[in-house]
């Protein structure tokens, strides 16, 4: 007997056990705790894992979960909430699925009360800038509908506003139309102009159309600036009827113009909501760029939807044009300048193309830079240009795309770190395990892996011989550990012995683990005795263990 072999004596041998196995050689005792100690020992630098939830969660009560406020008269809830259970304490909690309405409400509330809380000294200039902001944000919302929702890359947005403004202004001066008719006439003009420039959009795609509309913008500029009827001498057309009464005090006039622009912005937001968020918007979200054929195959007439959105936006832009004429008592030529197009592009790019909040916040930033910080001089255009450059170089979709981009970047970094980590604590990676709710499963897998590693060290000729001699009954400690593990395995793919003919033919099968699904035959080998079959099954399991 060699040094690393040990003899195991069957404790039942004294009473005479059927089938022998009184004394077998067996591997020496190994401490099963060693694997555990090795596993938990400190080998690699440990980094903190998991996520911290910054999100505020209010407490909830199971009975109150359906008790929600709704927008009268719809069934729409005011804030989309969701009941969840805290992973640690299992307490019921409520989270807001979409927090944007809160920020919209706060932002618009600020704009609504701004005239009363702004500092007295430069209130007038700030409110004037606020009026400009309201008009430009409305224009940019309509533009976002065209570029983002309809996916038509048009740069002639300001041209529509300008044409409508000039025509309504001209009509007001020459026919003496009242101010309240101007936006409605503007809608008509916007529709006609929209139809004219929507025609090429049916044929051209993407940037070809963008360049064409850039040229159209220039065409409008040259046409308007060179025609005598539109006041080519005075730099614009002025003298339209306005809703701001000149007899009011200057402060009242400022308030009136500010609030009218504010309500225009609210109206534009509603328009955006009801086009982007309803049927047309959903149709067009299905027909994204390069997925048009899929949408078409699904029976979606996306071209019609695009043109519809374009025309509705054009009507809205015409309305804004008429409003503009009534607001400023006229229109200046610089509405057609390439510079205006650049500023508009800066507004929607910085915020993020295709989102209402992007258009509004981008406009706010640019208007603050352009109209409030006037003392910076030409420097402010360099700042705006630099902001644009920064957005283009580093952000995928403007300010409001940062969140998504950051999440993607974080996941990418996480995966990189995951792939460089060779050391594994268990079957599950640390990052994965934070995302599994049943932590018992994490521990089970970890324990299972350690146990298999330990059992692998026990497998040797001795215990295989021992099993061959006597598959059932009392065994040495090493073999018994291995057998316990095998027997405790899950039902799927568990090997069983099938008796074809008693005492003559036995086969090995594997259970499916699914109720009602029959076991499958794993090999055609026929064992003559049940003990041989037991041993064959044991060898299969040992092989699976060693290979895993």
């Amino acid at each position: 007997m060699s040094k690393n072999k040990k003899t195991w004596k069957n404790p039942l041998a004294n009473w005479g056990v059927k089938g022998g196995n009184y004394e077998v050689s067996t591997p020496p005792y190994k401490d099963p705790h060693e694997v555990w100690k090795k596993t938990i020992s400190y080998k690699v630098p440990i980094t903190k894992i998991g996520r911290f939830h910054y999100e505020y969660k209010s407490s909830n009560h199971g009975n109150k979960i359906w008790n929600r406020l709704r927008w009268w008269p719809t069934r729409r809830t005011i804030l989309s909430t969701k009941g969840v259970y805290n992973r640690k304490s299992l307490k019921a909690e409520k989270i807001r699925r979409d927090k944007r309405p809160i920020f919209w409400f706060l932002g618009l509330l600020f704009l609504a009360i701004a005239p009363f809380i702004l500092p007295e000294g430069n209130k007038t200039s700030l409110l004037t800038a606020g009026g400009i902001f309201g008009i430009y944000a409305s224009i940019n919302l309509c533009w976002t509908l065209i570029i983002g929702t309809a996916g038509i890359f048009s740069l002639a947005t300001y041209a529509i506003v300008g044409i409508s403004g000039f025509f309504t202004c001209w009509l007001s001066i020459n026919l003496g139309l009242a101010w309240w008719t101007l936006p409605f006439i503007g809608m008509f003009i916007g529709l006609i102009f929209g139809i004219v420039i929507a025609l090429p959009a049916l044929r051209l795609d993407g940037f070809y159309y963008g360049l064409l509309t850039l040229g159209l913008n220039e065409l409008c500029r040259v046409f308007i600036t060179t025609s005598k009827a539109f006041g080519s001498a005075s730099g614009g057309l002025f003298g339209a009827d306005t809703f701001i009464n000149q007899d009011w005090t200057p402060l009242t006039q400022t308030y009136a113009s500010y609030y009218s622009a504010f309500f225009l912005l609210i109206a534009a937001l509603f328009l955006f909501r009801f086009i982007d968020g309803k049927r047309l918007g959903r149709i067009l979200k299905m027909a994204q760029e390069k997925k048009e054929s899929f949408a078409e195959a699904s029976g979606v007439d996306y071209k019609r939807a695009r043109v519809t959105v374009f025309l509705i936006s054009s009507i809205a832009l015409g309305f804004i044009g008429g409003f503009y004429a009534a607001y400023y008592r006229g229109v200046a030529f610089n509405l057609f300048d390439f510079h205006t197009v650049i500023m508009g592009l800066a507004m929607i790019t910085i915020g993020g193309i295709g989102r209402a909040e992007g258009a509004v916040v981008g406009t706010l930033i640019i208007v603050i830079l352009d109209r409030v910080l006037v003392e910076l001089g030409p420097m402010r255009y360099i700042i705006i240009g630099t902001l644009m450059m920064f957005t283009i170089l580093f952000l995928r979709n403007g300010l409001f795309g940062i969140r998504k981009q950051f999440k993607e970047w974080r996941d990418k970094k996480k995966n990189e770190a995951r792939s460089t980590r060779v050391e594994r604590g268990g079957e599950m990676l640390p990052e994965q395990s934070t995302e599994v709710d049943d932590k018992g499963e994490v521990y089970r897998k970890r324990f299972d892996k350690m146990q298999r590693e330990f059992l692998k060290t026990l497998i040797c000729e001795d215990i295989i011989n021992e099993h061959k001699n006597k598959p059932l009954g009392q065994h040495s400690e090493a073999l018994e550990r291995v057998l316990y593990y095998f027997r405790r395995a899950g039902m799927n793919d568990k090997y069983v012995v099938k008796c074809e003919e008693p005492f003559q033919k036995y086969k090995i099968m594997a259970l499916s683990g699914v109720r009602g699904r029959s076991p499958r035959l794993v090999e055609d080998k026929i064992y003559e005795t049940v003990n041989a079959a037991y041993h064959g099954l044991f060898l299969r399991r040992v092989q699976d263990l060693m290979e895993a």
Binding site: Y208, G210, G215, L216, G385
Partner: protein
């Protein structure tokens, strides 16, 4: 008849200048997939480069001309370094690249305004003041010079693209950017070449135009928009299409001025462009049908 010939010559002169910008826009789009709207800035940049060279280095017209071209090359390379190289491999490149070039032209125009002031500058007459009379039409030297120098420039660029190794690389990028990258044509290096060559063409058009018109920080805008329109009509990516479109639009300009009135030039021009694009959405040549879309 002579009247029309004279007007056509005028149109051709202008078309030559704008055609250079158009071919530049075209090549940049087809080779790099970049819609470069900063040619207006490169135009003014090159003009000011030539003006500085004339002021501070040497007043010889030919030298000034070449310095303008050199400044154009520099401007093109600056745009390439600022926009094309950082953004070309990022998602949504076409839109971001276009807006980026607009941002460059915004910043560049303001910087030029800061340095040189809003006052217009004039470059010297490069080709003297002599006149030639052909068929009762007096042709001034600058017209002949403009036509010939742009044709020479264009020929050189086309020859270079057809016969040199770099030109081969650029043409490979035009045909299939992915395959070109796979066979080892560096996107960034080729981008630099393309932007340098197109910058040179814009620089030439800048010095040619600034001797008759004037030079100001934003004077490049009209040539750029006209160039873009010509490139659009000719079909983005096609030099031949751009040349044909430039000639057609030059002729249109002459005829419109003669029969309808100078005010309506842009209207007829855009009508023409829209009609052409409605018939053939990829312009006159349209050879690159869908090649740059994938």
């Amino acid at each position: 008849m002579n009247d029309i010939f004279f007007l056509f010559l005028n149109g051709l002169t202008v078309a030559c200048i704008y055609g250079l910008v158009a071919v530049a826009v075209s090549i940049t789009w087809s080779a790099l997939g970049l819609l470069n709207l900063s040619y207006g800035f490169i135009f003014s940049f090159a003009g000011y480069g030539a003006w500085l060279a004339e002021r501070h280095l040497w007043g010889e017209p030919i030298f000034v001309l070449f310095m303008g071209i050199a400044a154009g090359i520099l401007g093109g390379v600056i745009v390439c370094l600022l926009i094309f190289i950082p953004v070309h491999d990022k998602p949504n490149f076409t839109l971001r690249g276009m807006i980026g070039t607009i941002a460059v032209s915004l910043i560049g125009g303001q910087v030029l305004l800061q340095f040189f002031g809003p006052k217009a500058k004039l470059l010297p007459e490069f080709f003297g003041y002599s006149k030639i009379k052909i068929l009762d039409v007096v042709i001034t030297a600058d017209k002949i010079g403009i036509i010939f120098s742009s044709i020479i420039m264009l020929t050189l660029v086309v020859k270079w693209m057809k016969s040199s190794r770099r030109g081969l690389e650029i043409r490979a990028m035009m045909m299939n950017p992915h395959a070109a990258a796979i066979v080892g044509i560096g996107v960034r290096k080729t981008g630099l070449y393309v932007m340098a060559v197109t910058g040179a063409m814009t620089g030439l058009s800048a010095v040619l135009l600034s001797q008759t018109y004037y030079l100001s920080p934003f004077s490049g805008l009209t040539p750029m928009i006209k160039g873009v329109s010509i490139a659009l009509m000719g079909g983005l990516g096609s030099v031949r299409g751009a040349v044909i479109a430039a000639i057609i639009l030059g002729f249109n300009e002459a005829l419109t001025t003669k029969f309808i009135g100078g005010r309506y030039v842009l209207m007829t021009q855009f009508l023409l462009i829209i009609i052409v694009l409605l018939i053939k959405p990829r312009g006159i040549a349209g050879i690159l049908d869908k090649a740059r879309e994938g």
